[in-house]
């Protein structure tokens, strides 16, 4: 169970929140011509990295505000949360604090009990 720090309410239990997928995906401007590829990527394509990930969450059972965060998908740790109108943090800031449980491979499970 995660603790998520809502930028409006403070740290709360994960059960109060809902995940909203990748953050900083820009919706194409409807007043301009949008190509099939551009629109298709907006609707259907999302990144799914192992490691640091910009992500959207909403405090569903709380203030109902949407906000962004940086989450490490391999440890589930949420490193920072920030309001929608705030600048997205540079991922390099977190490179040194990222901890992985056990000699994580680049892809795949890191479910080891002994150091590899």
């Amino acid at each position: 169970m995660l603790i998520i720090n809502c930028p409006y309410c403070g740290p709360r239990d994960q059960s109060e929140f809902s995940n909203g997928g990748e953050a900083h995906v820009k919706r194409p401007d409807g007043s301009k011509e949008i190509g099939d590829r551009e629109w298709g990527e907006y609707v259907f394509i999302r990144a799914n990295p192992k490691g640091l990930f910009y992500e959207r969450w909403v405090h569903t059972h709380g203030c109902r505000k949407w906000f962004n965060c940086v989450r490490d998908t391999s440890t589930d740790e949420i490193l920072v949360t920030y309001k929608l109108d705030e600048k997205k943090p540079n991922l390099n800031n977190f490179k040194s604090v990222v901890k992985t449980p056990s000699g994580e491979p680049e892809v795949g499970s890191g479910n080891f009990t002994v150091e590899k």
Binding site: L2, S31, T113, V114, E115
Partner: protein
């Protein structure tokens, strides 16, 4: 095995007798006894039959690690798989042994032991996958189903569990010597501390063994009493007893289960367990160690027990399970058992050690010699033999000669392991200790501290410095405890995993997992077959996959595998220890979220009236909605629905529509926002008018529909489907915040604030006039798709002229608190006009006759407005709205998409069914192209036949042609594809 009672102690008082039943026979134990200690007191050691081979099994341990002694507690809803070594007895307790038929002594399933050569590693996989499918179905499956397994499922389970949340700075798991010392350091500090112990009494090793003789120059028992008192008096420390930490999640989140009825029968209706959910800053693991066993032929015979468990029975329960056990060890941990036996005036029948005489501790040597205990050094047990109990063992001594020793009990020690289960759950890493031959915690992943034997410190020399060093960050009091030991030894162990069998026979078994009946031969076979990765091997052999997760044996398996593969144990690795540490019941996990609290029931303000008037309810999301109303008990659903719908067409009907989602949208930019959310354009819409609207996903598929009332450009009220209300509000909020934060707009749910009555039918206007005499309901004053605000008897109401039935209709919105009164009033006024309530089923029938869709029934997330023939609802001049661009994707403009059509049987007497496939051929010959399927289907007494809505490929251009509907009996029904409108196509009745 003949046991004797020793001296009383603070845990067991011999004057407090308790009676209980085991397999129907009455026995006596004492208050404080576990089922296991009570059974041993009565010289019962055969307590169950094994999982696969139905071999007789006894009590192997004295704690949570027990693999064998699992019993069914008949007096507690027949709770199965209860560890007899933990569960305390109480007066009148009824216990049954498991996995045997007809009786424990004469078990038919033990015939499996004869078949055992076929039940080897991978048996299930090979049988499933192999060519002998017939064998599986006719022989193996029935055999296995009857014979395999643990206890039977509980009956009429009524356990209640509470959940409690904690938020603390430090959690200490384990209240043994190290846990108590750690807690002592935190006394009166500024930290909130939880001290959790699985037992009723704190003390761990102090209570369970005679290892320690003095603490700070006082008797350990007295020291314990004082220390516990100090900890209890400290305001910042809370102690949870009888509480087992089962789970160590990310971010120091722990789950622990507390048994609220230790030593007494759970009272029905009372909370019998508490699930503690603990969020902690630091976790200090002081959960000790577990002794492991050794593998040799028949190492599962009743009468074989771990040596530290034997000692625990002596120290904790005042009971020696046998007067003269044989001890077999490869390490120094069993020294204290020898000491305890002699202290109690007993002595081992023999002491057998695989180590050489030089390696054996001098103290032990002296003790054994002084008391004339037969000593075998450099020796191994080749096998244990006996009928349902151990009778003799064969010992190979240092000269290689075989010695037979008669005995009724054998105590084993294969070494000790830190209990690393929770540590690895926390994602901490282990490292193999070549000297102590066990995995020890090395790198914590979370703020986790391990102390004492849980950290792999099997000696007491560094007790103070280790605790002081590891708790340094907390800046708490430094400890200086003086410890004196009875058996002053350093932990010493010699490698021994398995003794080679004396006789090589197909039936000779040396077990590596007692609960799952895995033998060392199975491990060998699995490796020969290529399952040499430890995770594969575990699944192939089912080693350590029982409810005990191989607590006393999994390390032995790793040792055997590493020897076979000639690899270091660190390279072999361990399988992952997964939560929970020990099984916990579903009822504990569910807590209060069960029965009526599982999912909230939502009821409309009219619910009480429905109950009194014969409503049969349907669940729509969380809502209870009247499905139909029974005028008498004999009326069938079909008759009720036809009566209700006919009455709407001929007179008038009233539906409780309060469950419809209602959202109020306000703000300077509300108009622009609504134009972006819905497909329709609201710009030219007049104030006070309403519009049927569609909401799409960004993929262009219909997500929800509803009626939008425009009060002004800055104020709208939208209705949603009953099930979609929360999603639609969530979607509006999301887009308002994330995509269009520049728009000044606010929205709120008003679903529960207003009740809604849908009145429709030709007589409706007369009823409305009578109910609301001050309002002009003429077509000119109150046209179709307009709404008006009024006040009625001081209650503000809104009336919308709209209809979902195709008849003249009005929707009345009333504040919920005043709704029932007005509903009652309309009921009585409406009688003379034939007004009758109708339910959701009649509503569905009526709307289908008009071809009105239900989102989620006639659409399934792959249907666009164009597919539904609702292109007119798309505001083409609008630059943008949700999903607009998707409506011109190559896939959405395909002509052969599935489109909404009407279906009627060519022969009007034929029946149709929801879900039927529409095909072109009369004969079904597979493969056959399927055009689509029927989404809604009803019998209409207005039409006099069945009719249906369907989505079929290229449907719009197929209108006017014939096709077939497949039936479940592989035949077909001829159907006509028609426009999806069956009644009053030009809407004369709607606007009448």
């Amino acid at each position: 095995m003949k046991s004797i009672n020793l001296k009383e102690n603070q845990f067991i008082q011999f004057h407090q007798k308790i009676s209980f039943k085991f397999d129907g026979v009455k026995y006596f134990g004492y208050k404080g006894d576990t089922i296991a200690s009570a059974l041993l007191r009565n010289n019962i050691n055969l307590v169950g039959r094994s999982f696969k081979y139905h071999r007789p099994r006894g009590i192997y341990t004295c704690g949570i690690e027990e693999p064998n002694a699992l019993v069914q507690i008949i007096s507690e809803y027949s709770e199965p798989n209860t560890r007899a070594t933990i569960k305390k007895i109480y007066e009148g307790m009824e216990i049954e042994s498991q996995n045997r038929w007809p009786s424990l002594e004469n078990d038919f399933g033990s015939i499996n032991n004869l078949f055992s050569p076929i039940f080897t590693a991978g048996f299930y996989y090979k049988t499933f996958m192999g060519p002998h499918k017939k064998f599986w179905k006719n022989l193996y499956e029935p055999l296995i189903r009857r014979a395999a397994g643990l206890g039977k499922p509980p009956k009429d389970f009524k356990g209640i569990s509470n959940h409690i949340h904690h938020n603390v700075d430090v959690t200490i798991i384990g209240g043994g010597l190290n846990g108590l010392l750690a807690a002592k350091s935190f006394i009166n500090s500024n930290y909130d501390v939880l001290l959790i112990d699985f037992e009723e009494q704190l003390g761990g090793i102090i209570n369970n063994s005679n290892k320690i003789s003095l603490i700070d120059n006082t008797e350990p028992k007295n020291w314990l009493k004082e220390t516990i008192q100090e900890i209890e008096d400290s305001k910042n420390i809370k102690i949870l007893k009888n509480t087992l930490v089962t789970t160590y999640n990310y971010i120091n989140h722990l789950i622990a289960i507390e048994d609220r009825f230790v030593g007494s029968k759970p009272i029905e209706g009372k909370v019998n367990s508490t699930l503690h959910k603990i969020r902690t800053g630091h976790t200090i693991l002081c959960n000790g160690h577990i002794e492991r066993f050794l593998s040799f032929q028949n190492n599962d015979l009743p009468g074989i027990m771990l040596s530290s468990s034997f000692e625990k029975y002596m120290c904790r329960y005042g009971l020696a399970p046998s007067k003269e056990p044989v001890i077999f060890s490869n390490n120094s941990n069993s020294n204290s058992l020898v000491y305890s036996l002699i202290k109690a005036g007993l002595k081992p029948k023999a002491y057998i050690d695989s180590r050489s005489g030089e390696e054996i501790e001098p103290n032990l040597f002296d003790l054994i010699r002084k008391n004339d205990v037969p000593l075998y050094t450099n020796s191994q047990i080749k096998g244990a033999f006996g009928n349902k109990k151990i009778e003799k063992i064969l010992v190979e001594d240092s000269s290689g000669a075989l010695n037979e020793i008669k005995c009724d009990c054998l105590c084993l020690s294969g070494g000790i392991n830190p209990d690393v289960h929770l540590f690895t759950q926390s994602k901490g890493l282990l490292d193999w200790d070549e000297k102590d031959l066990t995995y020890k915690p090395s790198k914590p992943f979370q703020p986790t501290i391990t102390l004492g034997s849980a950290s792999g410190q099997f000696n007491f020399d560094n007790l103070n410095s280790d605790i002081n060093e590891k708790l340094k960050t907390f800046k708490v009091k430094k400890l200086d405890v003086k410890l004196e030991l009875n058996t002053n030894t350093k932990y010493n162990i010699e490698k021994l995993w398995e003794v080679s069998p004396q006789k090589k026979s197909l039936w000779a078994k040396s077990f590596i997992d007692l609960q799952n009946d895995v033998t060392t031969k199975d491990i060998r076979q699995a490796i020969t077959e290529g399952f040499d990765r430890i995770e594969h091997l575990k699944r192939y052999t089912t080693n350590s996959m029982g409810t005990d997760q191989g607590k006393i044996s999994s390390i032995n398996a790793l040792g055997i595998v590493s020897d076979l593969l000639d690899k270091k144990v660190n390279e072999v690795g361990t399988t992952i220890y997964r939560p929970p540490y020990a099984p916990l019941s579903f009822s504990a996990i569910a807590g209060r979220n069960c029965y009526e609290f599982y999912d909230p029931e939502r009821k409309s303000p009219i619910h009480s009236w429905h109950l009194k008037n014969g409503a049969i309810f349907e669940d729509v999301g969380q809502w209870k909605r009247p499905w139909y109303f029974q005028i008498n008990k004999d009326e069938s659903m079909h008759d009720a629905v036809q009566r209700e719908s006919k009455n709407v067409r001929e007179n008038a009907g009233i539906l409780d529509g309060s469950t419809l989602g209602k959202i109020e949208i306000k703000g300077e930019d509300a108009l622009e926002f609504m134009n972006l959310i819905y497909t329709n354009s609201f710009t030219k819409m007049k104030q006070g008018s309403a519009r049927y609207a569609l909401m799409l996903g960004e993929d262009g598929m219909v997500k929800d529909d509803g009626i939008i009332c425009k009060i002004s450009d800055q104020h709208f009220i939208a209705t949603t489907t009953t099930g979609g209300a929360a999603t639609v509000l969530g979607c509006m909020e999301e887009y308002a915040q994330t995509e269009w934060p520049n728009l000044k707009v606010f929205m709120n749910s008003i679903t529960e604030q207003y009740a809604t009555f849908n009145i429709s039918g030709p007589n409706t206007r007369e009823i409305m006039k009578k109910a609301f005499p001050n309002i002009n309901f003429s077509n000119e004053e109150f046209p179709f798709m307009t709404f008006q605000f009024h006040e009625f008897n001081g209650v503000p109401i809104r009336i919308l002229r709209a209809s979902f039935t195709g008849e003249l209709g009005y929707e009345i919105y009333i504040p919920s608190n005043s709704a029932l009164k007005i509903w009652d009033n309309i009921q009585s006024l409406g009688k003379e006009f034939g007004l009758a309530p109708y339910g959701t089923e009649a509503m569905h029938l009526l709307r289908a006759e008009k071809g009105y869709i239900i989102v989620g029934q006639d659409t399934d997330g792959s249907i666009t407005p164009i597919d539904l023939g609702l292109s007119w609802m798309i505001g083409k001049s609008k630059k943008d709205f949700l999903g607009k661009r998707s409506l011109t994707r190559s896939d959405t403009i395909r002509e052969d998409r599935k489109q909404l059509v009407g279906i009627i049987p060519s022969n009007k007497a034929d029946k149709l069914e929801e879900g039927q496939h529409i095909i072109l051929d009369k004969e079904i010959k597979s493969p056959i192209p399927m055009l689509g399927h029927i989404t809604s289907c009803y019998y209409s007494s207005t039409l006099g036949h069945d009719f249906a809505l369907a989505v079929i490929k290229n449907g719009h251009s197929m209108i006017g042609t014939k096709a077939y509907a497949s039936t479940s009996s592989m035949s077909t029904t001829g159907v006509d594809i028609v426009k999806p409108v069956f009644y009053d196509e030009d809407n004369k009745r709607l606007v009448s």
